[in-house]
């Protein structure tokens, strides 16, 4: 890109060819008011607030869509353009019902700020007072067309960043309305409720019920932390007022992990089941009774002294590394047991065993690529995973690759086409035959000469030779035509990304993981020393737990006599509850009351995500910082303090270093 020089307000400034006048102004600290512009989205010049004067242009032009050229003479602050901007504001105000005293967004509104800036103390034109509908049927979002300025930020963020393509303009001219799908209510539309449009909306036209009347940005402290919901590790900007959560936004909305999902943006604000405030100990009558922390830790210490053997520890992977490593020490050194696992350790054992079978002395989990690689893909193969549900941002990246890069999408799933309209090819193998299908694709790649690997190991070819088309067809029910089509699409792609998840992992066969890796290897899908393969790992810090050695072996084969379950603020599932039955002595350290706490002999409090701090490792290996955004409720102790207290009772010192 060649450098260009412009004169803006009499000052010479530099830019690059391809920049817009607005970009050059902003890069050089020249203030130009904007409304429809949002960094990271395409510019459309919808609002005209950024009009500037350019020499030899007959009329003022919007800076956001005007391509800068060498030698351009621009004026951004003349009386004429300032007059135009004020007039544009007045026209915007007359077009819909922008009355701040009955708008929740007053105080957090860009239109209002502009009106203040331009000292708009009256409007010279008659108002139109259109009577427009309000759509509040979605669980999270409300569209109030009365407040809309038709800037189109929501429409653009929905298609360009969230890749939902739900919002668009309907009708024409001044009757234009932003709408979901084909004039459906948002709640009944294809909307995924990621809330990117809420963050993008400059006015009160799209807002969230969840954030309503909790507070204004100006009154809040903003803390950047990491999302505790899944392993993707999206950054969150959490707004806090008087030790209450107000709102969650993305620090960088238009970054790949920026659109967030309903869990990260909205659900985290709820703290619905009652919190565990006080420790509980099961009394003589078998009922759980409130107790002091001292007494509760004493009871645990006594039991631990009695039952040395057969005591196990399970920990949630929503807690940061610091808690995980202290828990490991606690179980190993204080309890004296090597019986330890995380709630989702099983997935890791399968993944890493699969990787070891593929590459014995390699990089382990680091053989997988970062999730951003999906955005470069021209083909995506999804097998045994439903990213849109388990890791919504991965779903978003997949839809972006499909809609923006034309990536081909192949879904292998026995029962569900997890991307429905987005899918190019849905292969529906018989349940349990995914491995055969993957190997069948690998064999067909070799047979059709589509394998890009230079020297295919003979052992691999011979082990794959049993997966000829007919055998594959017999085992999976996939016919030759579809098998070859899938092979062709994936084999001919330059950047083929394979995403697999719980559908494969819950089958407990590491050979499935190995098959996936071989497939990527055969097609030369390497970026440096990483394969274009992404496994959807569960808990937010499950990778941290794996790296700290908490999940080396499973413990659920045998039932322990005693169990210390550090559940934190993670919900319980039926499977865990079933397994907990029949354990003699159960300690549950949890943020919320649940069926698990009512089964326990001792219940201990635990902070929620917002009250903890420490380090997370995202599923693709990034170190993330979990920051404390709230003071623990009623001075509740941190998980570590409780573990140290029990250790003290047993005469052991547990240090967190």
């Amino acid at each position: 890109m060649s450098e260009i020089i412009l004169t803006i307000n009499g000052r010479q400034v530099k830019g690059k060819e391809g920049d817009t006048v607005l970009e050059i102004c902003q890069a050089n600290g020249i203030d130009v008011p904007t409304l429809c512009h949002l960094e990271g989205l395409s510019d459309v010049g919808a609002c005209r607030m950024c009009v500037v004067e350019i020499e030899r242009e007959r009329n003022p032009v919007p800076a956001c869509t005007y391509p800068a050229r060498d030698g351009l003479v621009v004026k951004t602050d003349t009386e004429r353009v300032e007059k135009y901007r004020r007039q544009i504001l007045e026209l915007i105000f007359t077009e819909r019902n922008h009355f701040c005293m009955f708008c929740e967004q007053s105080g957090d509104c860009e239109l209002q700020k502009l009106a203040y800036r331009y000292q708009m103390d009256n409007v010279r034109y008659p108002y139109t007072f259109p009577s427009l509908p309000v759509d509040s049927l979605s669980d999270y979002l409300v569209i109030d067309h009365n407040r809309c300025v038709l800037c189109g930020r929501c429409v653009r963020v929905c298609s360009e960043i969230a890749a939902g393509h739900t919002l668009d303009f309907g009708k024409r001219g001044w009757r234009t309305l932003v709408g979901a799908d084909l004039e459906q209510s948002l709640g009944e539309s294809s909307c995924l409720s990621c809330g990117a449009c809420v963050q993008a909306c400059p006015t009160g036209a799209i807002f969230s019920k969840v954030n309503l009347y909790r507070g204004k940005t100006d009154e809040c402290q903003q803390i950047t932390t990491v999302c505790p919901a899944c392993g993707v590790g999206c950054e969150l900007n959490v707004m806090v007022k008087d030790n209450n959560l107000v709102r969650i936004e993305a620090p960088e909305l238009t970054e790949p992990r920026g659109p967030l999902c309903p869990i990260g943006r909205f659900e985290l604000l709820y703290q619905t089941p009652p919190r565990v405030i006080s420790p509980l100990v099961r009394g003589k009558q078998g009922k759980l009774e409130e107790s002091s922390l001292d007494r509760a830790t004493q009871v645990i210490a006594e039991r631990l002294r009695e039952t040395k053997d057969g005591f196990a520890g399970i920990i949630s992977t929503r807690v940061p590394n610091e808690t995980l490593s202290l828990f490991r020490k606690f179980i190993a050194e204080v309890v004296g047991s090597d019986w330890i696992d995380t709630r989702d350790g099983g997935s890791y054992r399968i993944i890493s065993q699969g990787i070891r079978q593929f590459q014995n002395k390699g990089k382990g989990l680091d053989i997988e690529c970062p999730v951003e690689e999906i955005l470069k893909a021209d083909c995506i193969l999804i097998v045994g995973a439903n990213p849109a549900e388990t890791h919504p941002i991965i779903g978003t990246l997949v839809r972006r690759a499909v809609s923006q890069r034309g990536a081909k999408l192949i879904v292998i799933d026995p029962s569900r086409d997890v991307f429905s309209l987005w899918t190019d090819l849905w292969l529906k193998p018989r349940a349990g035959s995914e491995g055969v299908l993957l190997n069948g694709i690998a064999m067909t790649l070799i047979d059709r000469g589509l394998a890009k690997q230079e020297k295919i190991p003979a052992e691999l070819v011979s082990s794959l030779s049993q997966y000829k088309t007919d055998e594959v067809n017999r085992a999976t029910g996939i016919d030759k035509e579809n098998l070859e089509l899938a092979t062709e699409i994936y084999g001919q792609a330059e950047h083929g990304v394979i995403i697999y998840g719980e559908g494969l992992l819950e089958r407990n066969e590491s050979s499935l993981v190995t098959s996936v890796l071989h497939l990527a290897d055969l097609t030369g899908n390497w970026v440096g020393d990483r394969l274009r393969v992404i496994s959807l790992k569960p808990g937010a810090n499950s990778r941290g737990a794996w790296e700290l050695g908490l999940a080396l072996k499973g413990i659920k084969q045998n039932k322990p006599k005693g169990l210390y379950l550090l559940l934190a603020d993670e919900p319980v599932d039926e499977e865990l509850l079933g397994w907990l039955k029949g354990i003699n002595f159960l300690v549950v350290q949890a943020s919320y009351h649940s069926p698990a706490t009512s089964m326990a002999d001792v219940v201990l409090p635990s902070p929620i995500w917002a009250e903890r701090e420490g380090k997370y490792v995202s599923m693709d290996g990034r170190i993330c910082e979990l920051k404390q955004v709230l003071q623990p409720k009623e001075g509740l102790p941190q998980d570590q303090e409780i573990l140290m207290e029990i250790s003290k009772q047993l005469g052991r010192r547990l240090s967190s270093s």
């Binding site: 019902n97 701040c100 009955f102 203040y116 103390d121 007072f129 009365n146």
Partner: protein
């Protein structure tokens, strides 16, 4: 120096702007040496006589509002309006989203009332206009103090500017629409 004569009126409004003016508290004593309030809800004098400055709070909602606005305009040299209702229409404009008849029916004869269902009518009750309007849609306005209500500080600023012979325009940091 002769005192500056001021008259004020309230139209369709909540009187919050006048309250905000009274919130000037001890500053009112200083102001009293510079201005004389003639007709006003505060003095309870209803007939306008010629003044230097007319002040209107509230939107124009009825034929009576229209008449008051016109009369005050005719009697003052400078007309200043206070508050979002007078400047933009404000909260009163919520009724503009419905037909006038619908508003009256809803108010007098649905679940919103326990009284009988007659819409009162008398020549003493001014009829509603089709739509609520800001004051500048009815008469010429010289200066505006928006806010719901404007802060005492903003009202004081505007009055001081006028007393010093300038037409006030609120600085951005004093602008409030709520």
């Amino acid at each position: 120096m002769a005192k500056v004569k001021v008259a004020t009126a309230w139209l369709d409004c909540c009187s919050g702007c006048h309250m905000s003016f009274l919130d000037l508290d001890e500053v009112l004593i200083d102001l009293a040496s510079a201005i004389e309030i003639t007709a006003s809800p505060i003095t309870d004098i209803k007939e306008f006589s010629p003044v230097d400055v007319g002040i209107i709070e509230g939107a124009v909602s009825t034929t009576h509002d229209e008449e008051v606005a016109k009369k005050l305009r005719a009697n003052c040299k400078i007309l200043m309006v206070w508050g979002d209702c007078a400047c933009f229409g404000g909260i009163c404009t919520m009724r503009n989203l419905f037909p006038k008849e619908e508003i009256l029916r809803r108010y007098y004869s649905t679940e919103s009332t326990t009284k009988d269902s007659n819409i009162p009518s008398s020549e003493d009750i001014p009829p509603l206009l089709e739509q609520v309007k800001p004051v500048n849609q009815v008469v010429k306005v010289d200066c505006y103090v928006p806010g719901c209500p404007p802060s005492s500080k903003a009202i004081h600023y505007a009055l001081t500017e006028l007393l010093e012979g300038r037409i006030p325009i609120l600085p951005s940091e004093m602008m409030r629409f709520d």
